[in-house]
Amino acid sequence: MELTERIILSLIKFLENNNDILGAKSINRITPKEKDLPAIIIREGTSSYRDIEIGSRLYKRQITLYIEIFANNDSERLTLKDKVISLLRKNSIPIYDISAGEGEYVFGEPTDYMNVIDMTDYRIRLGEDLANLDLIDRYRHLINVTFDIGKIE
């Protein structure tokens, strides 16, 4: 499995392993349903590539992922986003060797570790009164995280 997908799946696994702290009902890649709230969704962002020196074909990749919180209420939204931020800031996140088996992913040993180098977060406002929105869209928060994946490619 290629690196970007491994990074996304490894981050999901890292959050699942720490879900006793987070308390999310669902950690996934797709928009949750109401019964799954509070939920954490990981989505692919953009990557940037920097040559390690002029003329070199070797580069360092920085990958941005979007971590979205869907909560039942405002307090849950704020608590969950703070817990996610704290976990990501205080830990190196293992990137696993992953292969796709029969309908499931098989996680091997960590091959690298990624670290947060930049992070911003804000509430998602869809421009409507909360009362006019479905619960799923009412209390959403986006954490925009850039990781250094700690290796030269």
């Binding site: 928009t31 989505r43 962002g45 953009t46 940037s48 941005t64 979007y66 979205e68 930049d118 911003t120 998602i124 406002r125 869809l126 421009g127 409507e128 929105l133 479905d134 799923i136 869209d137 959403r140 986006l142 925009n144 850039t146």
Partner: protein, 179 residues
């Protein structure tokens, strides 16, 4: 009795700053090129990430660009939230961050194109639902899937950071290598 001079890149910090200062007008011009490039980037990003065919560019065209040069200052601004809200009836927010607001709701009676008036799975994300003009079917579809997020604002921020980092780096390299 003792004089210590530390020079990096063969220059003192004062000399480096002076060289940077001398390139200010070129820096301003290149900063505005970066701004225009980013404006173009976000518009193309939206067009290339549109989920359905026949995108007419309503959101992309509503993203404004503004720049200004003043004494010792250069700035550019891409997109104006009030203007975007007005010109797109706030739809840019649902497109950027995704939304489930239509899930479970019934669309007005109309027809789907291309394909049969009543769409089937083989035309998933290939067409649009029209509820005016043309020959109406008796079918009114339920929306099952949420609008997926496009994150064009976030992509612009990431791209902008990278572009400004590269611009500053380029000028620092120029100053360092200047004899």
């Amino acid at each position: 009795m003792v004089r210590v001079v530390i020079k990096r890149y063969g220059k003192s910090p004062k000399e480096l700053l002076l060289d940077l200062e001398n390139q200010w007008f070129e820096f301003q011009a290149e900063a505005l090129d970066v701004g225009k490039g980013l404006h173009n980037f976000v518009k193309e990003y939206i067009k290339s990430h549109a989920k359905r065919p026949g995108y007419k560019g309503k959101i992309a065209n509503a993203i404004s660009y503004d720049e200004s040069i003043e004494m010792g200052k250069v700035s550019f601004a891409i997109g104006d939230i009030a203007q975007l809200d007005e010109k797109t009836d706030r739809a840019w927010r649902a497109v950027n961050w995704g939304s489930s607001h239509m899930v479970g709701r019934k669309l007005p009676v109309g027809y789907f194109r291309p394909g049969q008036a009543k769409p089937d799975r083989s035309h998933f994300r290939e067409g649009r639902w029209y509820s005016t003009g043309g020959t109406m079917s008796k079918y009114a579809p339920y929306v099952k899937m949420p609008i997926p997020p496009m994150y064009f604002v976030e992509a612009l921020i990431t791209k902008g950071r990278e572009a400004i980092f590269n611009l500053i780096n380029k000028f620092l390299e120029r100053v360092k290598s200047k004899k």
